[in-house]
Point group: C2
Chain length 342, copies 2
C-alpha cells in the first residue's frame, strides 16, 4: 500500500481541527464561576497543543460512516482528559513550563492545580456521556478503563524512577498504559460514535495503540539522534535526566555484559551528578551514546517501529474502511504521526 501525500487528507484535518477549536472555545470557562476554579482550566486549555486525540476521534467517526459533529462531545472529552493528566503530571514532575508557558501549579498554586485538574476530569466525563442512551454503557466502560489505565501507567513510570534497570516488556507495558491506550481509545470511541461494529472499533483501538508505541520509539530515538534545532529540545535530554525511555531499554535488552557494565556505570555517574545538583554535560552522555551505537539501537528502533507499522497496515487493510479512499489516507496519517511529519 503506497502512502498517499498528506495533502490528500489536509482539508479533512483542517475541518476536524476547526470543529475541535470551536468546541473548546464554546466551553466558556474564561467567565465561569468560581473563577478560582475555572480560570486555571481555561488557561491550561488555551495553551494549545496538537489536539491529536480529538482529531483521531472525529476521523474515526467519519471512517465508520458517521458525521464528525456527532463525535464532537467525545472528542472534547478526550482532549479534556488528556489535559487533566498533563496538569496533574506537571505537579508530579515539578515541571515549570508547559508549551513554553508557566505550568498551572506555578501560576495558580498547588491547590488550584490539584482542584482544577480534578474538575477537568469530571468535565471530561460530562462530555463523554453526551450520546444516545444505547451507546452510553459501552462509552462509559471504555472511558473508565482507559482513565484507570493511564493512572496505572503514570504510577509505573514513577516507580521506574527509583529503579536501576527496566526491561523492554515492562517499559512497553508502561508506555502502552500511559500513552498508547488513550490514542487507541480516541479512535475506538470515534468509531463507536460513527456506528462501527465492536470488531471494527477494536481494530481501530489497536491501530491507535500501535501508532502510540511507534510514535514513542521515534520520539525517544530523536532525543538522541534527532536534530536538536529542528525539534527544539536539548540533545539527549532523557539521558541527561537519567530517564528510562524506549532507546535505553532496547539497548539494555540487546547488550552484552560488558556493554551492560558501561551503561550502568555511566548512568550511575549522571544520577550522582543530578543528586549533587551538578550540571550534566554533553561529555557525560557521549560514553552512553557510544554504547548505543555499538549495540545498534538505531536499527533496533527502526525494527520496532516497522513492526508496529506492519501490523497497522494489516489492520487497516483488513477493515472495510480500506475499500474507500479513507483507508489509504488514514494509513498515511498514522505514518505521518509516527514520523512527526505534521
Amino acid at each position: 500500500m503506497a502512502i498517499p501525500p498528506l495533502q490528500a487528507f489536509a482539508s479533512d484535518l483542517n475541518r476536524y481541527r476547526a470543529l475541535v477549536d470551536q468546541g473548546l472555545k464554546e466551553l466558556g470557562w474564561s467567565l465561569a464561576q468560581p473563577a478560582g476554579l475555572y480560570a486555571p482550566m481555561d488557561y491550561f486549555m488555551s495553551l494549545g497543543g496538537k489536539r491529536l486525540r480529538p482529531t483521531l476521534c472525529l476521523m474515526a467517526c467519519e471512517m465508520a460512516g458517521g458525521k464528525a459533529q456527532t463525535a464532537l462531545p467525545q472528542a472534547l472529552a478526550l482532549e479534556l482528559f488528556h489535559n487533566f493528566t498533563l496538569l496533574h503530571d506537571d505537579i508530579m514532575d515539578e515541571s515549570p513550563l508547559r508549551r513554553g508557558q508557566p505550568t498551572v501549579h506555578l501560576r495558580y498554586g498547588l491547590n488550584s492545580a490539584i482542584l482544577s485538574g480534578d474538575a477537568l476530569l469530571i468535565e471530561a466525563y460530562n462530555r463523554m456521556v453526551q450520546a444516545k442512551p444505547e451507546l452510553m454503557p459501552d462509552l462509559v466502560k471504555e472511558f473508565n478503563r482507559v482513565a484507570l489505565q493511564v493512572c496505572q501507567g503514570q504510577q509505573m513510570d514513577m516507580d521506574f524512577q527509583n529503579r536501576e534497570e527496566v526491561g523492554l516488556s515492562e517499559y512497553r507495558e508502561m508506555i502502552g498504559l500511559k500513552t498508547a491506550v488513550l490514542l487507541g481509545s480516541s479512535l475506538k470511541i470515534g468509531a463507536m460514535m460513527g456506528g462501527a461494529s465492536a470488531t471494527d472499533a477494536q481494530a481501530m483501538f489497536r491501530v491507535g495503540y500501535l501508532t502510540g508505541l511507534a510514535f514513542q520509539v521515534q520520539d525517544d530515538w530523536l532525543d538522541v539522534y534527532g536534530d536538536p534545532k529542528r525539534f527544539g529540545k536539548q540533545i539527549a535530554g532523557d539521558i541527561k535526566a537519567c530517564k528510562f525511555n524506549f532507546l535505553r531499554v532496547l539497548a539494555w535488552e540487546h547488550s552484552n555484559n560488558i556493554q551492560k557494565g558501561l551503561l550502568s556505570e555511566n548512568f550511575a555517574k549522571i544520577k550522582e551528578r543530578i543528586s549533587q545538583g551538578t550540571e550534566v554535560l554533553n561529555e557525560d552522555v557521549f560514553p552512553i551514546i557510544r554504547v548505543y551505537d555499538q549495540i545498534g539501537v538505531t536499527q533496533l528502533a527502526i525494527d520496532f517501529k516497522e513492526n508496529c507499522i506492519k501490523t497497522i497496515h494489516n489492520l487497516i487493510s483488513e477493515k472495510s474502511f480500506s475499500k474507500n479512499n479513507h483507508g489509504l489516507a488514514f494509513y498515511g496519517y498514522c505514518i505521518s504521526l509516527i514520523n512527526r511529519d505534521f
Copy 2:
C-alpha cells in the same frame, strides 16, 4: 410527627453497614497492581468512617421499594467519591492526620496522594454506572453535576480563606456545594436505583441537602458550645484557626456596627498570631465568644436548624414512603444525624 427511638431502625442500619463493609472489602485493592497506586487507596479506605453516604443511598433505595443490594455499586461509588475529595482536601489543607492516622500525602508522598485520589474518582465512576442501561443517563448526569459542584464548593471555601468577611448566603451556598449536595445525591441516587419517580427522587435530594446544612450548623455550634471532651475536639477550633463557619457568618449577619467592629478586631488579632506562628490561646477566643453570646448565636443556630428540620418534615410527610413505617424512621434518622446521636 413524633420522632421514633432510633432502635426502631437499628437492624436496618446494621444491615446497610454490613453490605457496605463487605463491598469495600471486596474491592481487593490491598493486592492490586501497581501497588504504588492501589496501596494508598486501600490504606485510605481502611481508615474507616461513618459510611454515611452509602448508608443513605441503600436506605433510600429500600424506601423507594427496591432491594438495598441493587444500589450497592452506587453506594460504594458515593463512598469512594467522598474519600477522593477527602484525600485531595487533605493535601490542600496540609492536614497531617485523618481519623487519627497519617494522611496519604504524608505517608506515601504528594505524588501518590494526587494520583491515588484521581484513581479513586475514576473507580467511583466505574461503580456509579453499574446499573440498568435505561437508568445510566440519569445516574451519570446526576453524579457529574454533584462531582463538579463539590469542586466548586471546595474552591469557594479556599477563596473565603483570603476574605475579611463572608455573608450568610454565600457561606450557605458554599457549604451546600461542598457538603450538602453529596448527602442529597446519596439519597437521590439510592431512590433512583429503587425505582422512585423523578419527583420523589428530587424530594429525597432536598431532604439530604437540608440534613447536610442543618448538620453543619450543629457541627459549627458544637465547635464553640459543645463539650470538648465528648466531641474530641479542642474548644473553638474554628475560631482559633480563623476559619469561617456557620456560627461566624450568622453572628456577622445579625451584628450591629459595634459588634462587627469587635469581631473584626479580634479575628484580625488571631489571624496575625497565626501568621506569626504564635499559639492562639483560649484568651484570644473569649472576646469573640462574648460577642456571639450577646448576639444570641445559639438561638440563631437553633432557628436555622429548626427551619431545615421543618422542611425535611414536610418533604417526608408529603411523600408516599411516609405511608409505611419507613417515613417516621427515616425522619428520625435525619434528626439523629443532625444531632449527632449516632
